[in-house]
């Protein structure tokens, strides 16, 4: 469908900055505040109702407002003939927030269609990259069901084992979560929050379960020069971002396929877990898939991006060799990452450049760790 009204996106940006240099520029500080508002956002292939005959429509709509602070420092802390230490660091905060949408809950994120509405939604007043799905509410236990009341633990196990696909009745005063469908009312099932309290898991029980944008990103670089040696290390990282671990949609299905070791802690009648559901072959596959916070992880990390150690030959040796300079160095990148994220790399984006599907780890290739040795010669 043609759109005769397409127009440019308009961006208005306000920057206020403060540069501060002290002690003959030995310490330089930069503070920046920015507010960037993009209006008439040009969204390609935006979902429109299918009675149009089209799946998408390119149109100008919605606004994105990004507010943020950036701070950087460049400090030559020690400057001697035999020792120099330079610190460069920057920290930034800020989030991009969408508004002016014609409707809330516009599909975005991963796999629109397969997962109805996608793993993320665009919601007026919320961040771009807002994960939208079900919140887990524990695991159904024997005591939640009428049929298991008043039995000894052995009797409960025996009753459960009689028919593992049987369904039971929740006790009268039950106020916990609900399984994905009414025919799964049984011990060991994953429970989800029933927001509207109608006893059936549906679209209205979905809520915001994570944010892909980090609260803070930072980088710190230290450089030392000690005599003819130079040494530097560079950390970077971010805090407060969530990642959808798409690989775990299968690996943590608690189903019959290859699974992560965590599935060894699945609920069993003998060892009733309160955090992992039972293993069930019918958990798997598209019709039974529930997008929940089980697949959302904290993507905060600190990474040692680079360490370099170098040695330059002293001037008198160079003169003998008729060289201007000669430096040996050894350098390592991606040496370690401190993170709670269980996938390969918490610093991910589904397609690399799609700003409407931030923070999805879909089997992304892991970052390589590299150790390099080198020699720089200047004739």
């Amino acid at each position: 469908m043609a759109n005769p009204n397409l127009t440019w996106e308009t961006t208005a940006q306000f920057d206020a900055g403060l540069d501060l240099a002290l002690f003959k520029n030995r310490f330089e500080f930069t503070f920046d505040y920015f507010r960037k508002k993009t209006t008439d956002l040009l969204i390609a292939n935006n979902r429109i109702p299918s009675q149009s005959g089209f799946s998408g429509f390119t149109e100008n709509f919605a606004n994105i407002t990004a507010n943020g602070l950036e701070f950087s420092v460049n400090a030559r802390i020690i400057r001697n003939k035999t020792l120099a230490w330079t610190l460069n660091a920057n920290v930034s905060t800020g989030k991009a927030i969408v508004d002016g949408l014609p409707i809330d809950l516009l599909p975005s994120g991963f796999d629109q269609g397969w997962l109805p509405g996608g793993s993320q939604r665009l919601i007026n007043g919320e961040e771009i990259g807002t994960f939208f799905g079900h919140k887990r509410a524990g695991i159904a236990q024997f005591d939640d069901f009428v049929e298991f009341q008043g039995l000894s633990n052995e009797e409960q196990i025996a009753l459960y084992n009689q028919d593992r696909t049987a369904t039971y009745t929740f006790v009268d005063d039950y106020d916990g979560g609900i399984p994905r469908a009414g025919n799964r009312n049984r011990p060991g099932e994953q429970l989800y929050v029933d927001l509207d309290g109608n006893g059936e898991l549906s679209e209205v029980d979905k809520e915001i379960i994570g944010q892909a944008q980090p609260d803070v990103t930072f980088g710190i670089n230290n450089t030392f020069e000690i005599g003819n040696f130079d040494f530097s290390f560079f950390f970077d990282g971010q805090f407060g971002n969530d990642v959808a671990n798409v690989s775990n949609w299968n690996l943590l299905a608690f189903s019959q396929q290859q699974q992560l070791a965590q599935v060894n802690q699945a609920w069993t009648p003998e060892n009733p877990s309160t955090s992992n559901p039972r293993v069930d072959s019918t958990n798997n596959g598209a019709p039974n898939f529930v997008f929940s916070d089980r697949f959302i992880e904290d993507g905060s990390f600190i990474r040692l991006q680079n360490v370099t150690l170098g040695y330059s030959l002293p001037a008198d040796v160079l003169d003998d060799l008729k060289l201007t300079s000669l430096r040996f160095y050894i350098s390592g990148t991606n040496l370690f990452t401190i993170t709670d994220y269980t996938g390969f790399n918490p610093d991910v984006n589904l397609t690399g450049r799609d700003n409407l599907s931030l923070g999805h780890d879909f089997g992304g290739y892991p970052l390589a760790r590299a150790i390099m040795m080198g020699l720089n010669i200047t004739l």
């Binding site: 469908m1 043609a2 440019w8 996106e9 308009t10 961006t11 208005a12 940006q13 306000f14 920057d15 206020a16 900055g17 403060l18 540069d19 501060l20 240099a21 979902r47 429109i48 109702p49 299918s50 009675q51 149009s52 005959g53 089209f54 799946s55 014609p102 409707i103 809330d104 809950l105 516009l106 599909p107 629109q112 269609g113 397969w114 109805p116 509405g117 696909t165 469908a181 009414g182 025919n183 109608n198 059936e200 549906s202 679209e203 209205v204 072959s281 019918t282 798997n284 596959g285 598209a286 019709p287 039974n288």
Partner: protein
């Protein structure tokens, strides 16, 4: 030193805009007026009779496309899953919710499979034909025939949608801006009386009077219209959950419309067997022979082409299992590989083409048991055995023949599950006969001679004798409905039949789900999905499907209300 910097700027795009303005000033106009080379715009396309034909052909594609989202090539047979005719094989979970009757608005069949969406794409393309073809200077008869095709095709899409989803937005314009599709849902009655019936009435007057070749003809329109009348006369449930009795006066309309086809069309029932060497296809199966599509019996047939990636996926989805071992019974029951070789056949118990055992749509034992003794439609239509070139007969898992490209199953060269040419016949001359018989009996209170003849024509073709004479209205109604089940098995008519005759609950309350030895197999066996108990209560809400959840979200400002019983 302290330096303070404050700047404020309106950025980027204005700058580029200004550059463009500058360029304009120094360029000649011809240079700037370009025809975009990478797509054909509406303005340049709808200009000739030839393009009008191409544009009209394009509307069929969303329903017959060879892709994973094909409607008649893959997803639509699921309408009958869970009835007494069609089930899925064990552990095939795609339609588990059909058996447990827990369908929800987020199910992939509604969303990713695009069963709902593709009908709308077809409607949009038909609307384009209706909008743009009238502007083309061309022969008026030819033009009206194309418009008739578009009206008939649009009506057919709406007919499927309204039976499956109930209330619908009335999208009747070529989409130009959002107001053309941002519409509330209108009642099913309005869809029938304002879009479907008038559209088919235009089509029956203006479409070509020819045999069917994949495009809507005068006779396609009349037959769809007869089915619409028959359906509208029967029972249904609304999106609000109300039970509607239907307007019985439409039976007479259905009777007369079907009669027009019987009396006036060039179509007929095929009564000759087809003999190809040792293979004999009984007459009842000849319309489905891949080698001779669009037979004299076909009145609406969606094509599938034996070109890689363009074939129908149904051969794949209807294949129940890799081999026939369980069906043979214990290992000792299997035949010897050959004389003097004490090994038992194993791999031979599968079709040589090795269809993937997807098993979405397989026949129920209930359907198999429904056929009368001697009914050729059973042994042709539900494959339970096949003859190999070495002269052995092997048992295979029961499979709908109508869904299969037999060349692929038998391993012919250049075939694969994407590479098949089994067309889907939606309507054929047999529909006219049985619609006439049923509608005449309802409209006139008892069967007349012609109605009895119509049923007997179908029965005789299948190798059965005439109906008993002197049947009452009720007895004849039962006989026609039984005949429909046998004749149209696998043709996605069962659930719609059960709904319009208000038998959906009764006919699905006691379904035979286990095969017993005498039914072609060497032993009792089951291949049913674990949730298919055969006696689940069909809930009232599942007369209709829920509107796909994504569509509910996208239509929130159009005040759509979800079909009754499916939550929000």
């Amino acid at each position: 030193m302290i330096q303070i910097k404050i700047d404020y700027m309106m950025k980027t795009k204005y700058l580029i805009g200004a550059l463009l303005v500058a360029l304009l000033a120094i360029s000649c106009e011809d240079f700037l007026e370009e025809e975009p080379p990478n797509f054909v715009s509406t303005d340049v396309f709808w200009v000739s009779a030839e393009n009008a034909r191409i544009g009209t052909d394009a509307m069929y594609e969303p329903l017959s496309d060879g892709s994973s989202n094909a409607v008649f090539g893959r997803g639509w047979p699921a309408v009958d899953v869970g009835t007494d005719d069609v089930m899925s094989r064990v552990n095939r979970n795609n339609f588990a919710d059909w058996f447990s009757h827990t369908i929800n608005a987020g199910h992939p069949w509604l969303e990713a499979w695009q069963t709902y969406d593709n009908h709308w794409t077809g409607i949009a393309r038909a609307n384009d034909v209706l909008e743009f073809v009238p502007r083309i200077a061309m022969d008026e008869t030819e033009k009206n025939a194309l418009l008739g095709e578009a009206y008939a095709f649009r009506a057919f899409c709406y007919f499927n949608l309204v039976r499956a989803w109930g209330d619908l937005p009335k999208v009747v314009n070529s989409i130009d801006d959002a107001s053309d599709f941002n519409l509330p849902r209108s009642s099913a009655d309005e869809i029938y009386t304002e879009i479907i019936i008038p559209g088919l009435q235009f089509a029956e007057e203006n479409c070509v009077d020819e045999l069917h070749n994949g495009r809507m003809t005068k006779w396609s329109a009349k037959l769809i219209l007869a089915d619409v009348y028959l359906t509208y006369a029967g029972t249904r449930r609304t999106s609000q959950g109300e039970f509607v009795q239907g307007d019985a006066s439409y039976y007479a309309l259905a009777r007369d419309k079907a009669k027009e086809i019987i009396d006036g069309s060039p179509h007929a029932l095929i009564t000759e067997d087809f003999v190809d060497g040792e293979h004999i296809t009984p007459a009842c199966g000849v319309p489905w022979l891949e080698a001779q599509p669009y037979s004299v019996e076909s009145i609406l047939e969606f094509g599938s082409t034996n070109v890689s990636e363009f074939g129908s996926w149904l051969s794949r989805e209807c294949s129940p299992f890799f081999h026939g071992r369980q069906y043979w019974g214990p290992a000792g029951g299997m035949p010897l590989v050959s004389e003097g070789n004490s090994g038992r056949v194993n791999n031979e118990l599968r079709f040589p083409g090795r269809p993937p055992a997807t098993g979405f749509y397989i026949p129920t034992p209930d359907l198999y048991a429904h056929f009368e003794d001697g009914d050729e439609r059973r042994d042709w239509g539900i494959m339970t055995r096949y003859d190999t070139p070495d002269g052995n007969t092997y048992l295979c898992q029961p499979t709908f023949r109508k869904y299969v490209d037999i060349d692929f199953f038998l391993g012919a060269e250049n075939t694969s599950f994407l590479n098949t040419n089994n067309n889907f016949i939606v309507y054929r001359y047999a529909d006219a006969l049985l619609i006439f018989a049923e509608a005449q009996n309802e409209a006139d209170g008892s069967p007349n001679t012609e109605a009895i003849l119509a049923v007997n024509e179908i029965r005789n073709r299948a190798g059965l004798s005439d109906l008993a004479s002197g049947l009452s209205q009720n007895e004849f109604r039962d006989a026609v409905l039984r005949e429909r089940r046998s004749e149209f098995h696998g043709e996605i008519k069962r659930k719609f039949d059960l709904m319009r005759t208000n038998r959906l609950l009764s006919e699905t309350s006691d379904i035979k789900v286990e095969w017993t030895a005498e039914e072609g197999s060497l032993q009792d066996y089951t291949n049913k999905h674990v949730f298919f108990t055969g006696n689940e209560v069909w809930p009232d809400r599942e007369w209709l499907y829920p509107i796909p959840q994504t569509q509910m979200n996208l239509n929130v400002n159009n005040n759509w209300v979800q079909n009754e019983g499916y939550g929000l």
